[in-house]
Amino acid sequence: MDYELSKPQKMLQQSVREFCGRQCTADHVREIMETETAHHAELWQGVADQGWIGLHLPEEHGGLGLGLVDLAVVFEEVGRACLPGPFLSSTWAATLISKTGHAASVSSILPELCEGSKIGTVACFEEEAGWVSGQYDAVKAEVSGDGLTLSGKKQLVADAAVADVFVVAARGEQGLTLVLVESSANGINITPTEGLDATRKLYEVTFDIVNVSADNVMSTGADAERALKESQQVGMVAVCAELVGSMQWMLEESVEYAKTRKQFDKIIGSFQAIQHKCADILLTTESSRSAMLYAAWALSEGTDDAERAVSIAKLFCSDAGQKVGGLAIQVHGGIGFTWEHDLHLFYKRNKSNEFLFGDATFHRELVARLALDAA
């Protein structure tokens, strides 16, 4: 049994950290988040050149064929740098396309997504249905001639303004219908809806009778449900890893500050109240990392408890990101509450990630279902 990262994984970790140290400093993040889309072509090209997009996808789909622990290593490090832009969105979209196994899309768009020449995102969330795809109803897919027309609205679509393609989770005759749509298609309307995390922009996307060819219908019904769910599980591993990276940053900053800041002629890190808060940040971060790594491994291995492991990681990391953020600000005192200090970048990202793919309450119910409702 070995819970440690392997040597190649540690090397990967090191290379992501170095990349972020060079190309994704906090100053740079701030500049990029002030732009309209938080997408920076050069940074994006850098990410793409590293091969991180689709890292975990099969080589025949344009990926590197690595595992989800490797993906988690990358997302933890970019989380520690609060990387702005569509990395997560495009990773999710690519994963979903790959999971549908839809030959045309897999061979046409997937390699482009993996090499970063195109950007994808998933139009999935609806306010009233939340993350329960069985209740998606806001975008209808109706048969029209050889293809479909899409009509309706999706919310909280990350990075929609810079995406070349959307995977849309619509409701059709066969139930859930996953459709690949070019963002340039007629009838698509993209409205920015500013969220508290300015490093990952959110949009409302409306479909006003958008015509889609039958070739673009990737999956329907139970198959579509399975593909969407599997892609979300991968997305959750990535989000949990981002949360862990963010907590790690907060831990390092808080400890550093507690070691240097003086009040009452003493280093504040010598006060029990500060010591215990730092210890709690450590405990919470490490437990989150245990949960996240296990979820990544279990999902990669396809263990029996993988679904439970992912939900437990998401519920624990969601709560933890919140808690660690609060503790870190409190350790910093006034300065941690200013715009100048970088804490708020991470604090806000944590909040946004808390919701993404379902919050702690949502995943507790899933865990309960597995434990209580089984035959």
Binding site: L202, D265, G334, G336
Partner: protein
């Protein structure tokens, strides 16, 4: 024990309500950092003065009304509940004036007190420094005597209302050799003096509201020194006690608004085919928010009742401060859990929840961190030995 207002208190409230109905200015939706906004607040301060609502807590001999703490609290709640503009004079009336009354010379009383009441002088408070946060007494802003002036150099932070203020109660170090509490002097500083500049301090929420203050060879006439040289710490303590007593009481309508709005949203928005208000888990969270708010209301009323009897604010103010600041954070977090993913949008309920979520994080830091407040309770209320 009788929690009803007595006849006199009711009359006070009714008078105030009637006056507010006639005198409240229209709400102006302007940029809170614009000069127009500051003028709006200055006008309101003048209106209050002319209506006879300024200096409620002050002794009548200084132009005040000498009303009971309970009536002051009624005043605060009613004005906030009526949607009155922010009270620009809060620091002058609540903190500087009472301190001048205790420690000022006759000349200072004559010069400053009337202008606080009529709104000519708007005050801010220059205590905290970047390296003197919880440990205010370790402040480094330095003043050196030069003839009839103090010459001040240094930096202050977390100065609220500084953009709108024309006077500042400034703490400076005048004896570098003495123990830190014994080398501090309090100065009354004209903000229009050369050598003083202001920079708004942006909070993590993106708003300002606080400022940094920079002093470079600022000259302050010795006649504007408040209290004896090197005894400014006692002045600061008096001022802070007054601040803490004020802070707790006026917050109720703010949180009441928040909870009311949460309830309304829960009753109208849906998730998974049901109103939010129908979800048993969300109902628990809403009920807890309601209970929290009610406990805060009751704790405040009880503190006020004690103040009516004992008349000087004690360290119990720390209890209310801890309660409301932590309640604020619980409320903001819990509300976003109830309202769901869309509550992270700036456009959701006009960004009220995003603002509360971010702003609440400052609450356990400003005006004395929760850690400091708990030490105060342990040492001054419970009598435990001083902590390390």
């Amino acid at each position: 024990m009788d929690l009803n207002l007595n006849a006199e208190e009711q009359a006070f409230r009714d008078d105030l309500r009637a006056w507010l109905k006639d005198n409240l200015p229209e709400h102006r939706a302007v940029d809170h950092e614009s000069e127009e906004y500051w003028q709006h607040l200055r006008d309101w301060q003048r209106t209050l003065f002319e209506g006879g609502w300024a200096g409620l807590s002050w002794p009548t001999e200084y132009g005040g009304k000498g009303v009971t703490p309970l009536k002051q609290s009624i005043y605060l709640q009613e004005t906030v509940a009526a949607g009155a503009p922010e009270h620009l004079g809060v620091i002058g009336e609540g903190l500087v004036g009472p301190t001048i009354i205790v420690a000022g010379t006759d000349e200072q009383k004559t010069e400053f007190l009337p202008k606080i009441l009529n709104g000519d002088h708007i005050w801010c408070q220059g205590f905290s420094e970047p390296n003197a946060g919880s440990d205010v007494a370790s402040l480094a802003t330095k003043a050196v005597r030069d003839g009839d002036d103090w010459v001040v150099n240094g930096q202050k932070i977390w100065t609220s209302f500084a953009q709108g203020a024309n006077w500042c109660l400034l703490l400076v170090r005048t004896d570098m050799e003495a123990p830190k509490h014994k080398g501090i002097t309090a100065l009354l500083v004209d903000m229009n003096s050369p050598g003083i500049s202001i920079r708004p301090l942006k909070q993590m929420s993106g708003q300002s509201g606080f400022n940094e203050l920079f002093m470079t060879d600022l000259r302050v006439p010795v006649k504007n020194q408040l209290g004896p040289t090197n005894q400014g710490w006692r002045i600061a303590i008096t001022a802070l006690m007054n601040e803490r007593a004020n802070l707790g009481a006026s917050m109720y309508p703010f949180f009441d608004d928040a909870v009311t709005s949460l309830i309304e949203l829960a009753k109208t928005r849906k998730r998974n085919g049901k109103l939010l208000a129908e979800c048993p888990i969300k109902r628990q969270k809403i009920a807890q928010a309601i209970a929290d708010l009610e406990i805060y209301r009751l704790d405040s009323a009880r503190a006020l009742s004690r103040l009516e009897r004992d008349s000087t604010p004690g360290p119990e103010g720390s209890m209310l401060k801890i309660f409301w600041s932590e309640m604020y954070q619980r409320l903001a977090q819990s509300a976003m859990e109830i309202l769901g993913d869309v509550s992270q949008l700036e456009g959701f309920d006009d960004g009220a929840w995003v603002y509360r979520y971010l702003r609440s994080k400052g609450a356990t830091i400003e005006g004395g961190t929760s850690e400091i407040q708990r030490c105060i309770l342990a040492e001054r209320v419970l009598g435990l030995p001083k902590s390390y």
